[in-house]
Amino acid sequence: MAEVLEVVVHSTDQKLGYSGVAKSNPPIIMDYTPPLGDGQGYMPLELLLMSLAYCSGGTLSLLLKRMGKSVTAVSVNAKGIRRDHHPTSFTKIFLEFSLHSQDAGNVDVQKAIKTAEESVCAVWHMLKGNVEIVTEYKIVAS
């Protein structure tokens, strides 16, 4: 059965300030850079990067744990290179995973990244074909 997710976003000023919320989470404040906005919040493109960073990082840690590996810390740094005229979409996104694990090897991490990309990470799927996504990783033994 399909599941429906819902968010509501409403304007908060006479420029481009918005506040958005889903479920009972604290609201997320959005804005655009001056002069169009006041720069007091996240740009929607930053939220897209964050959505991909969380989706891929969470999937990666979950897949590695399912493979019996210990994962004590994960951080994902996501960078998006934006075109400077319309559409100002990302041409390339760099995802850099930093994993703390005593027993995960290169093969495990590469396999998990491949599985995340191919079937498990939903956000990745929705960007496919439209943005080039480049991944790098680092395993920290700890």
């Binding site: 493109l45 969380y54 979950l62 559409p87």
Partner: protein
Amino acid sequence: MAEQLEEVTVHLTNQKVQFTGMSKSNPDRPIAFDYKPPIGDGQGYNGLELLLMSLSGCSATAIAFLLRKMGKEISGLKVSAKGVRRDQPPIKFEKIFLEFIVNSKDTKDADILKAIQLAEGSVCPVWQMVKGNVEVKAEYKIVAS
């Protein structure tokens, strides 16, 4: 061609799948992410909700900007976004419904239809990036106020 770089970081904050994310320009506004039980504890946004939020914010920004450029007065704008998720891999939204509620005394149907078309066609970058992978349906309502 000059290019701009946006950068964000997320890091794991528990032994399940809760993460905290922030961007360089918003270090004081952390966002909590989590997945529903039993995988996570449901204490935060999930990745797909944030994708919906990103698309809503982007399309709302584009439409308000375009209508104002057309000389229309916009006193408020609200977007409700619903995403219908597949439950079989690949898990993704099959369809997204965007409903724009525009508060305006002088915006007509033709104006908003044009603004939605431009947002979809070129002005909203998030919309461009999901094109072909998800069906996005837009509806609107104009409230004279």
